[in-house]
């Protein structure tokens, strides 16, 4: 029997039993669609988190005061000594390495900002002109902090959009004097509203030179030192350099934690990928359930089609040919079901993207391929038994429908 004839014959048999075929198609397509939908959600979450992190800058190394790791009980812990603060001089020392492109010291505080009689609580960031590059922020108007000596406390500030709107309203904010705590700062720039940036809400932030912030907050310690490496490869160099430099400056005490954006990102990536595999696997169970349904329906179908199978044998079909015809039916159903499932799944993930534009819910390629293969495999596997039973029917009894 020719392959094309076998497929045509099977196709005929499927269209001849519409309800039965539709039932199996539905089962397979629901299985495939659920794999695609669930993995596209997982993939969407992964992309979202990835996007968040890459908006922080890709080659970012962050120095934080204090050791984050527990490496036994150190002398400092025993004596109740808090780790040494990070200072502006520490930050300065970190600029002197070939692997470092930029360094931005960072202090953080909360202060009251006021203009005329309007007041509100804002997040205060003290930093340098490098910050905007390191964090990949953009300005809506005006200019960012001046490229000054870090120690110079220039009375200027850059404000977020929300603060501009709430304090200045429709008036032009640039050139106005904003009061922060006891001091006044001239507004020189407005940050553009960042869509997303983990950690800091740029819209509700006032940025002033780091020296000004230290005076305002009455503290000489830094919250973080942000280092941008020249490249991804240079990041390890930067980490080693930063750790060694701070250790040296802090009299041999390794009292800082140096992390990379990458490490955090990779952890998230791993977690979310694993999660996606997990839910994909759970969804794939529905394909196995669909397979069992196929087996069930085919067993019933074969007992209904006994006389046809007997006839095919009388006309000269061998057991192998009957087996082939039955498996061709299962294969056709599986392929069609998978394609239908693709259509439903892709339409569904498109729907999710329309409803939640932040979540780029696109099923990953591996899920598309795996769901197709699992659908085919379960379709074929679960029809082996019914097909084998059909092939080994006794022709005389089958012809009599027994």
């Amino acid at each position: 029997m020719r392959t094309r004839d076998a497929i045509r014959f099977s196709w005929n048999a499927l269209t001849g039993h519409k309800a039965r075929s539709a039932l199996i198609l539905l089962a397979i397509s629901i299985g495939v669609a659920s794999v695609l939908l669930l993995t596209s959600l997982g993939e969407g979450a992964r992309r979202y988190v990835n996007g968040e992190f890459s908006s922080l800058g890709t080659h970012l190394v962050i120095v934080m005061p204090g050791r984050n790791e527990t490496s036994g009980v150190g002398l400092g812990n025993m004596m109740g000594i808090t780790p040494r603060d990070l200072t502006l001089e520490d930050a300065h020392a970190l600029t002197r390495h070939h692997s470092v492109r930029r360094v931005a010291p960072l202090t953080v505080g909360a202060v009251e900002a006021s203009w005329q009689n309007r007041k509100r609580e804002v997040t205060l960031l003290g930093s340098t002109s490098e910050l905007i590059h390191v964090r990949r922020w953009t300005l809506a108007s005006g200019s960012f902090l001046p490229q000054d000596d870090w120690a110079r406390a220039t009375p200027v500030c850059v404000i977020g959009k929300k603060i501009r709107d709430e304090l200045f309203g429709a008036r032009s904010a640039i050139g106005q004097w904003l009061r922060l705590g006891e001091n006044r700062y001239r507004v020189i720039g407005i940050m553009s509203s960042e869509g997303r940036s983990i950690g800091i809400d740029v819209e509700n932030t006032v940025i002033i030179p780091v020296a000004s912030a230290q005076i305002l907050l009455n503290s000489s310690s830094l919250f973080r030192i942000l280092i941008e490496s020249v490249s991804r490869e240079a990041m390890q160099d930067s980490i080693r350099f930063a750790t060694a430099t701070i250790k040296q400056r802090h009299h041999g005490e390794e009292d800082v934690t140096v992390i990379t954006q990458d490490a955090v990102l990779q952890t998230f990536d791993r977690i979310l990928s694993t999660l996606t595999y997990g839910i994909g696997g759970i969804a794939a169970i529905s394909l196995v359930v669909a397979g069992i349904l196929i087996m069930n329906v085919m067993l019933v179908a074969i007992s209904q089609r006994k006389s046809e199978i007997g006839l095919l044998k009388a006309l000269g079909a061998s057991q192998r040919e009957i087996l082939g015809l039955m498996l061709a039916e299962a294969l056709l159903l599986s392929v069609l079901g998978a394609l239908l499932g693709f259509a439903i799944g892709l339409a569904g993930s498109w729907g999710i993207r329309q409803a939640l534009p932040d979540l780029q819910a696109v099923p990953p390629l591996w899920a598309v391929l795996a769901s197709f293969i699992v659908a085919l495999a379960s379709g074929l596997l679960f029809s082996l038994l019914p097909a084998h039973r059909a092939a080994s029917l006794d022709p005389v009894q089958a012809l009599q429908g027994r």
């Binding site: 029997m1 020719r2 004839d5 014959f9 005929n12 048999a13 269209t15 001849g16 006389s307 046809e308 007997g310 006839l311 095919l312 044998k313 009388a314 006309l315 000269g316 079909a317 061998s318 057991q319 192998r320 040919e321 022709p395 005389v396 012809l399």
Partner: protein, 222 residues
């Protein structure tokens, strides 16, 4: 061309063993016209199925064109059935979802014949059976006589040497039954070996040779 030697076919029914065929010896020449008669359960259908390779003997030898078919494997038997033997059943056994032409084409499809060649042969068969204008009809749109003629066309499309008919007129009225018999006989006149199992005495008497069976044995052959 058909030679049955000491063919035995036993069925187990509960504790008992039933001898559906009991030491059958039979020689059939090419082009013969044989009818097989006997009461229900005498083994005439089993004999027909045995000759048609649908059933396997418990013991004995079956030579078809000097070849021992009992030694063939399942696939070879299926191939032999396709090439040498055509079946006509009482219940027609047409595939209900296929058209008349497609039903007739089925043995050629199974044999793997090229589509163009199939079309030519099916068209020819339709014409011979006076079914030209019924080619695209489904079986449920055909009369009983037409259905049986489709079945005969299907049985003969591979140009088999042997045509086996089990009660071919059993489900037909007298006129279409007679029609079917004439069709079968004209095929026999053109050289096909025709074996008909029947209850109908009148039909049985038409054959050149009449075999009577009782309890799995041939009691008379004239």
């Amino acid at each position: 061309m058909i030679r049955l030697e000491h063919i035995q076919r036993d069925f187990r029914v509960g504790e008992q063993t039933v001898h559906a065929l009991n030491d059958i010896n039979l020689d059939v020449d090419q082009g013969a016209y044989i009818s097989v008669m006997g009461p229900s359960g005498s083994g005439k259908s089993t004999l027909l199925n045995m000759i048609g390779l649908l059933d396997q003997p418990t013991a004995g030898r079956y030579l078809l064109e000097q070849q021992d078919v009992t030694e063939m494997d399942e696939a070879k038997q299926a191939q032999t059935r396709n090439r040498y033997i055509g079946f006509v059943f009482q219940a027609f056994h047409l595939v209900p979802r296929l058209t008349a032409a497609e039903n007739i084409e089925l043995p050629l499809v199974l044999a793997g014949i090229e589509p163009q060649q199939r079309q030519v042969r099916v068209a020819q068969a339709l014409q011979e059976m006076k079914l030209d204008n019924r080619a695209t009809h489904k079986p449920d749109q055909l009369s009983g006589g037409q259905r049986q003629r489709v079945a005969i066309a299907r049985a003969t499309i591979t140009q088999p040497k042997i045509l086996l008919a089990d009660e071919p007129t059993g489900n037909l009225d007298q006129k279409s039954g007679f029609d079917v018999i004439q069709t079968l006989e004209s095929l026999n006149e053109r050289g096909i070996t025709l074996i008909v199992v029947t209850h109908d005495n009148e039909l049985g008497q038409r054959a050149a040779r009449l075999i009577r069976m009782v309890d799995g044995q041939i009691v008379a052959s004239q």
